[in-house]
């Protein structure tokens, strides 16, 4: 199992797109804190969520990692051999599918946890430097919750890719949904039930002052989001076990 995880780690970190995702995830949030700082200081907008809200932009990193760890197995390797895919070789080397999925999930969790920790530390540290006393230092539990949120979203991207067996669809949907034109956020304007969608509810683990239609306690929010992700993973795993590779 350890060698499987190590193999998956090496494959993931060798992908150019994954490296882009790794870099974007670490850099984007601190950069946004920097860009937003002058306006926030001028209008005195800084509050206890400042620095943590900006972590939302960096989510593109874990999303890319979660998608490509699976989609890289499924895309055709080139024009010369149109139907050849990496997955064939992977399954010949390790035919037990559940172990393969578990190894992939483990590798993904490890990489994203490190990435999220670095990004969270950089973003909140930079916020302290730029805003000083106006933003209180967030409790350790909130920072840990932010890291958990990143890991869970990476797993969500991974499970959706498992289900639809294509990288472009989940990547497009998740990125669009995480930005200024979030469909989940729009839905919260239509119905309060949308507050329980995985990406919306999960944010309540570590954000306090954002505009949520329904207030949910952090631990409850974490449990609801984890339940969503677990359900997606189970569906993805069952399909992966039953379907032809």
């Amino acid at each position: 199992m350890v060698s499987l995880v190590r193999a998956e780690l090496r494959k993931l970190l060798g992908l150019p797109t994954a490296r882009v995702g790794l870099l974007l995830g670490v850099l984007l949030s601190p950069v946004v804190v920097l860009i937003n700082a002058p306006a926030a200081r001028r209008a005195d907008l800084a509050h206890s969520d400042t620095g943590l809200v900006e972590l939302g932009v960096g989510l593109i990193g874990p999303m890319i990692l979660g998608v490509v760890i699976m989609s890289s197995e499924l895309t055709s390797t080139g024009d010369e051999a149109p139907r050849a895919r990496q997955l064939t070789a992977t399954l010949i080397a390790g035919p037990r599918r559940m172990r393969l999925l578990l190894a992939k999930a483990t590798a993904l969790i490890l990489v994203v946890a490190v990435q999220a920790s670095v990004a969270t530390a950089a973003t909140t540290g930079l916020t302290q430097v730029l805003h000083g006393d106006r933003v209180p230092v967030p409790a350790f539990a909130r920072l840990a919750a932010a890291v958990l949120y990143w890991v869970l979203l990476a797993l969500l991207a991974y499970s959706i890719t498992l289900i639809v067996r294509n990288g472009i669809v989940p990547l497009t949907f998740l990125i669009v949904n995480s930005t200024f034109v979030s469909v989940s956020y729009l839905l919260t304007k239509v119905t309060d039930a949308a507050a329980y969608l995985p990406d919306i509810v999960g944010a309540q683990m570590f954000l306090r002052e954002s505009d949520f239609p329904v207030r949910i306690a952090p631990v409850t929010a974490g449990l609801v989001m984890s339940a969503w992700i677990a359900a997606f993973l189970v569906v993805g795993a069952l399909l992966f076990r039953r379907r032809d590779a």
């Binding site: 150019p16 797109t17 882009v20 974007l24 984007l28 946004v32 860009i35 937003n36 306006a39 932009v57 593109i60 890319i64 998608v67 490509v68 989609s71 895309t75 080139g78 024009d79 010369e80 149109p82 990288g167 472009i168 990547l171 497009t172 990125i175 669009v176 930005t179 200024f180 034109v181 469909v183 729009l186 239509v190």
Partner: protein, 186 residues
């Protein structure tokens, strides 16, 4: 003219493009029903469309039609021909339908040119979402002067005109034609 017709036939029959088009129109209808100005969302569908049109397999095409610049032009022209009706339908709920349709068609060509340069569908989609959905709104929020130079300005504010979109599309198209002309086929 056979090669022009061939490109057209490929565009209208590729399953991934049909699926993207159907999905885009469906999502646009849903957003219109929710009473949201849909172009900022709809453009993602057209970005994917252009990226997929450019990153489909090339080897056989180049055997049949080795003159690359005319081929590249044919691909761009047929893509516009296919996209325009689709963009017109998708723009019906917009406040300025004509401007929105023009913007969407230009954006598809921009995505196609970017895809020709990057040659990987996932990486192309990623790059385009980065510019149009992340960097664009971010820079626009930070500085008003940036608005005039961003390729996606009309998606958010149709009154700003689309000279920046035209300039970006033309520039990327020229660079992509040069690269398509010079590089080994992949």
């Amino acid at each position: 003219m056979n090669w022009l017709m061939a490109e057209l036939r490929k565009l209208v029959t590729l399953p991934s493009l049909r699926l993207t088009a159907a999905f885009t129109l469906g999502a646009t209808a849903l957003l219109a029903w929710l009473d949201v100005e849909p172009i900022a969302y709809t453009q993602t569908g057209f970005l994917v469309l252009g990226a997929l049109a450019a990153t489909e397999s090339q080897t056989t095409t180049l055997l049949a039609m080795p003159r690359r610049l005319p081929l590249h032009a044919a691909k761009a022209v047929t893509l516009v021909a296919v996209t325009l009706p689709l963009a017109a339908v998708a723009s019906v709920p917009a406040t300025e339908p004509a401007a929105a349709a023009t913007y969407l068609a230009l954006t598809t060509v921009l995505a196609f040119a970017a895809g020709t340069m990057i040659r990987n569908a996932l990486a192309t989609v990623l790059a385009l979402l980065g510019t149009h959905v992340i960097a664009g709104p971010l820079l626009r929020g930070a500085s008003d002067t940036a608005t005039r130079f961003l390729p996606d300005t009309p998606a958010w504010d149709a009154t700003r005109g689309f000279s920046a979109t035209v300039a970006w599309t033309a520039a990327v198209l020229v660079v992509s034609a040069y690269m398509f002309h010079r590089r080994d086929a992949a």
